[in-house]
């Protein structure tokens, strides 16, 4: 009994001591998986003018870059975005399909804590989420204790991807004859 307890305690210490940092999926593998090994050519959207202000409002600060690359085929668009949790940027892959979030996945996690946000029990909550009229997600996302800042970063990126996808589709409408 005592032996089992010691083994259990050792395993628990090994588990809690596991580093949170890591590359869980390379961005190009994420894209290949999303587009079934037929990744479209990348395009860019510029964060200038009113778009820059809206992004600042969504994130609470300016996005790190002035232009963002995305990959799009028909109604689906894929985005590789970054947002800082506490100190380090979290790289997240997002897929938007017809204005709804199809997939959100942590690709690179660099923080020392909060990596629980990469698990499906958390990311599944975003499935089919879209933006309401006020630019918020149309559902409540339950947080994870001890990962508050990472959760916040994930929610911000979900809103950002949905907003940018809407902007890209708006460009289509304005450029159509």
């Amino acid at each position: 009994m005592l032996k089992r307890l010691v083994v259990l305690l050792l395993l628990a210490s090994v588990y809690t001591g596991a580093p949170a940092r890591g590359t869980y999926q390379e961005p190009d593998t994420f894209l290949a998986e999303t587009f079934l090994n037929n990744t479209p050519e990348p395009a860019v959207i510029w964060l200038t003018g009113k778009r820059k202000d809206t992004v600042k409002q969504l994130l609470g600060h300016r996005y790190a870059s002035l232009r963002i690359r995305y990959w799009r085929r028909a109604q689906r668009s894929a985005w590789i975005l970054e947002e800082t949790g506490k100190d380090q940027p979290i790289t997240v892959g997002l897929v938007v399909n017809a204005g709804r979030l199809e997939k959100i996945k942590v690709l690179v996690f660099r923080e020392s804590r909060g990596e629980e946000v990469r698990h499906p029990f958390f990311t599944d909550q975003f499935k089919d989420a879209r933006l309401d009229d006020r630019g918020n997600l149309d559902r409540t996302i339950d947080g994870i204790s001890g990962a508050t800042l990472s959760v916040r970063a994930m929610k911000k990126l979900a809103r950002l991807a949905l907003y940018l996808d809407a902007e890209v589709r708006k460009q289509d409408v304005s450029s159509s004859p």
């Binding site: 870059s65 002035l66 232009r67």
Partner: protein, 253 residues
């Protein structure tokens, strides 16, 4: 109880009270430091103590924080792109992010193109980041040099070949070995004024205020003996609470 015995008791109590006062005065300074820093640490996030950095020169000197003497700098147009530690600067402005290994920087139209950390960084003239292209974004791996050709087009050199990007930097193609007219970026010395300003900025970005307050709270700020002195102060506080209770009980009698 005899009058002599009672007087002796009163004298003992008075002398104990004097010791209690001395201990109180002795512990007061430590108590103040521990209490104030404790309150501050309880509100680290609200007060942003973890994201604000110490600027005071004497505290930075006390901690032995020095800016690196070696700086890798390239002159692009009339601005210097400098890497110091993991900080990248366009003249005096810091570019967001952490970097290593600056291979070169050039000015192309209204944009700086910087080869750093195996990435290509595109910056506006004001130092805002336009994009950070990583190896997964199709840029050539292992960039050793960056330059411009006679037409002003970007050229990079890797150990294998030379490459050129399209106008949006989304696709890169082999250039071949015709390098006529290519001007490679070469390291350039910084003028002393800019060097000193960057060193000052670097030092002011290293030590979080939270760390200093934690060290004050534990006594580590005062050197190797600091924690022992603070332990002694804590022991003094324990004695103080016991002696205070004892005096109060004696007086009640």
């Amino acid at each position: 109880m005899s009058r002599h015995h009672r007087r002796k008791q009163r004298f003992k109590l008075r002398s104990f009270y004097v010791w209690h006062r001395y201990m109180g005065v002795g512990a007061a300074a430590f108590m103040l430091v521990i209490a104030v820093t404790g309150v501050l640490l309880n509100h680290t996030e609200g007060l942003q103590l973890d994201s604000r950095h110490v600027q005071s020169n004497w505290i930075l000197d006390w901690y032995g924080i020095q800016a690196p003497r070696d700086m890798n700098a390239f002159l692009a147009g009339d601005r210097h792109v400098t890497l110091m530690g993991e900080h990248l600067y366009l003249n005096r402005r810091e570019v967001s992010g952490n970097y290593r290994q600056l291979m070169g920087a050039v000015l192309k139209n209204d944009m700086f193109v910087v080869a750093v950390s195996d990435n290509i960084l595109l910056l506006t003239l004001r130092g805002e980041r336009i994009d950070r292209l990583r190896p997964g974004d199709g840029i050539p791996a292992g960039i050793l040099q960056i330059g411009t050709d006679a037409d002003g087009a970007i050229v990079v050199r890797t150990s294998l070949d030379h490459y050129q990007p399209d106008a949006d930097f989304l696709h890169w193609a082999r250039r071949g070995n015709d390098l006529t007219g290519v001007h490679w970026a070469t390291p350039s010395p910084l003028d002393p004024k800019l060097r000193s300003a960057l060193q000052h900025h670097f030092r002011g970005e290293v030590l979080p205020v939270e760390r200093v307050i934690l060290d004050l709270h534990s006594g580590r700020f005062f050197g190797r003996l600091g924690p022992w002195v603070f332990d002694a102060a804590a022991a003094l506080l324990i004695l103080l609470s016991l002696s205070g209770t004892w005096i109060w009980l004696k007086r009640r009698r």
